[in-house]
Amino acid sequence: MSCVEVSQLRVELSGVRADIVDDVSFEIEHGEIVALVGESGSGKSTIGNALLGFARRGARIASGRVEIDGLSVLELGPPALRRARGRTVAYIPQDPSAALNPALRIGRQLEEGLERHNPQLSGAQRGEAIAAGLSEVDLPNGREFLRRYPHQLSGGQQQRIAIAMAFLLRPSVIVLDEPTTGLDVTTQRRVIETVRQLCERHGTSALYVTHDLSVVANLADRILVAYAGRIVETGPIDAVFAEPAHPYTRRLLAALPDVGSRRGLEPIPGRAPAPRARPSGCAFRERCEFAIGACATAPPAPVELPGGRSVRCLRVHELPSSAGLSPAPARAIPAQDTILIVRDLIASYGQHRVLHDVRFALGSHECLALVGESGSGKTTLARSIVGLLSSWQGEIVYAGGPLAPQVRARSSLIRRELQYVFQNPYSSLNPRRTIGDALSLPIEHFFHLRGRARRERIAGALERVSLPAAYADRYPDQLSGGERQRAAIARALVCQPRVLICDEVTSALDVSVQAAIVKLLHELQLEQGLALLFVTHDLALVRSIAQRVIVMHAGRIVETGETDAVLTQPSHEYTHRLLADTPRLVPAPTEPGVPVS
């Protein structure tokens, strides 16, 4: 008997007949770690919550069975369900800073689970259990530490407390809901290591819900791929990554960057259907290159494949093999001049110095990636160049002339040619103005166009970013995250820029949407002869998009060079560490001279 058996789980939106997830069935063996992977709207978190018999506000578990160690969770009455939660099945939340009560001490929050579920333990025994639990996650277990409040811990420490809390009661299965979101790469690696060790040590099964495939590549034994509320593919993780069967899994992997090799990211056309708008039959058929008429009649039943895999696709046996993705060819750097030079740049916020003697050059037709973790100063650097931060010293030379720190002191030409795209698509467009209005602002300001000429410019810009012209009359809240980011790029394009600075523009987007934006940027770069300064924390993305890369750490540039060279033979120790901590789809081969940490 498996540890966890889910059959035909269906969760609906409250009050409406629309389902969030339907016909979900899978098993988790004892001690197995299963990854549940999907993009936003796939229903993966909903499935994870259902294992605890829980549905968020607005959702309702309609039917199905969830059995954990023989206990049928969905049929339990409230008191029995409360007993099962924490003891049989535990939860590790996505955002520990929000999930820990800000008004209670850590010790209290750790203890209350034990009090509730193991009342037979004495106070001293509880103390011992907590001390042991904290050592397991590499946290101090002294009294002083237990008396702290959550806000006195770092993000990584908070997450480890959450892990300790979950394992304290020795549950049979743990549900982890994107537990490494927002953590930097190194902390993320440590958290995953901890989870793996603890699961092994205590024989706990785990369901790891995530959108990040590379994170689970070295952790999970099996993978479940979710799309539009259905599980479309299951199987051992190495096999699925090596040769994905379902068309969606194929496209998903084709859109995924990998730090180990340069990949041309292929986006998926269209967008995932929302719960109320799912098409009949196979939910992926509208975006699938292999779809046929029969796909529209009914949702496909799972087809068993050898090796413990199953796929929901009518045509799975007819599809071509997907094994072995060849790396994309290197992008040639065309002949170019240097358009931007930064020399001895020093920037501070008040007394705190953020950038130390930064210097680099940007060619007029290249894509240069600026990579670093949060706090490295990369965003500060980008903002200094574009004029959002004016308290810097040093020299920035643009197209031969010096750049003034204040935006207002720069000429209209410079302001037009140096453009910026922001990270957060939800705050970079004014929610109370239409897309057309947002694009009109620079058009009026720089080109003084009105009426038809202006409308034509707007339509042209929207077309170049593959948005329909009708979007000019829409408001941002009617667009998806990816569409908003395209609109933001259109707003930058309308100025006819020569340098485009992109500040983590895909960090808030799904993988397939990210691929679309990256492809768009690449095409625009070729078409318009742009220079692209691409700021990111994701080394894998850098591999796919940039010709040259600059690595930053603590306000200094630690390494520069061509992307492939830096990422295969890093010379600086920090770059080594960053590379080692970045998760890969395929484990890095051991090369002589490259230490494996």
Binding site: R82, Y91, A98, P102, A103, G113, R148, T181, Q423
Partner: protein, 351 residues
């Protein structure tokens, strides 16, 4: 007094990059509360009270109205007026009048009432005591009632109690306090029933609490004016807290509903409620002026309106200072309680 009435606040999702810095709230300590911060706030409060005293003093003395005229009436002869003016010190420059008044104040001499020719303290103390009883009774009833009602309607959202309370609160918050008072008089004292007195005739120097029937309607009026605001705040905060991530987490740990509400939800919800209660109390100091007038209740509100009508400047000044000091005190209490109840502010950020 920039107090933000939300507990903790929802943490931003880190997927969007590090959270933006928030505007520094000047009313909160940057490095944990300590004697220094409290002293600074008290000093600020004193400055505010002093500022108001200056404002009132100069307003009263610099504006075109003659207290001597008001006291002696229209028939007074010019000599009598001049004599009174010099007796009261009104012919000296305003600044020197202010300084001597301030000097006297700090020595405990609160001045002599023009109307009664007695020290202001004689009338002030009993009036202050009566008003404080009124406020205390109001607070004792309205704060627990608001918390109870707010918690119940938050736990059973959209139920009968919730919808009924919201409807009634819309009516009560709209209508001015004196209208509430008069309506209560109509209902309980004159037209509908005659069970309670329309005018609160407290014998002089009596303890108000031994005359509950006289207190009933004024207290009821103030309670009805205040509870709708307060309970809606409690309700809003409770809803926020009940939907927070940490309450969800507590439920997912299998804790009993009672533990979840009492240990996790309520303590966090009470922080803004404490702030709001203190603010409501300071708001009431203005409210009692009207309500005491409606019921003829002999408190400082009535004292003030009478003093204003009779141009009794010393009394006006003293009562105004007392009211200002009361407001400042309540606000200070709100700030201090907030800091004490919020661990993050108490310890001042990362260790």
């Amino acid at each position: 007094m920039s107090i933000s009435l939300r507990p903790g606040g929802r943490a931003r999702r880190s997927a969007f990059g590090r959270a933006r810095g928030r505007e520094p709230d000047r009313s909160r300590p940057r490095s944990g509360v300590g004697a220094r911060w409290i002293l600074r706030r008290i000093a600020l409060g004193v400055v505010v009270v002093w500022g108001c005293s200056v404002l009132i003093f100069f307003a009263l003395h610099a504006l075109p109205s003659d207290p001597a005229q008001a006291i002696l009436g229209k028939q007074a002869t010019p000599q009598a007026l001049a004599h009174l003016r010099s007796f009261l010190g009104l012919d000296r420059p305003v600044i020197s009048q202010y300084l001597s008044w301030l000097g006297n104040l700090l020595q405990g001499h609160l001045g002599r009432s023009y109307a009664t020719q007695q020290p202001v303290t004689v009338e002030l103390m009993p009036a202050l005591e009566d008003s404080l009883c009124l406020l205390a009774a109001t607070a004792a009833i309205s704060i627990p009632l608001a918390i109870l009602l707010g918690a119940l309607t938050a736990l059973r959202r959209d139920g009968v109690l919730d919808r009924g309370s919201l409807f009634v609160s819309l009516l009560l918050t709209a209508v001015p306090e004196f209208v509430i008072g008069i309506v209560l008089v109509i209902v309980f004292a004159t037209v509908v029933w005659r069970v309670l007195p329309a005018v609160a005739l407290l014998p002089a120097h009596a303890d108000p609490f031994s005359h509950p029937r006289q207190l009933a309607l004024p207290v009821l009026t103030l309670v009805l004016a205040v509870v709708p605001y307060l309970y809606r705040l409690v309700r809003g905060t409770m809803i926020d807290v009940l939907e927070s991530e940490y309450v969800t987490m507590a439920r997912l740990k299998g804790l009993s509903e009672w533990t979840v509400v009492m240990r996790h939800a309520l303590p966090n919800a009470l922080i803004p409620v404490t702030q709001a209660s203190a603010i409501i109390m300071s708001y009431l100091l203005g409210g009692i002026v009207v309500v005491e007038y409606v019921f003829g209740y002999p408190g400082i509100g009535t004292l003030l309106t009478q003093a204003i009508s009779s141009r009794d400047i010393p009394t006006i000044e003293v009562v105004s200072i007392v009211l200002t000091a009361g407001v400042v005190l309540f606000n200070l209490t709100a700030d201090v309680l907030t800091v004490l109840l919020t661990p993050k502010l108490r310890t001042g950020g990362q260790a």
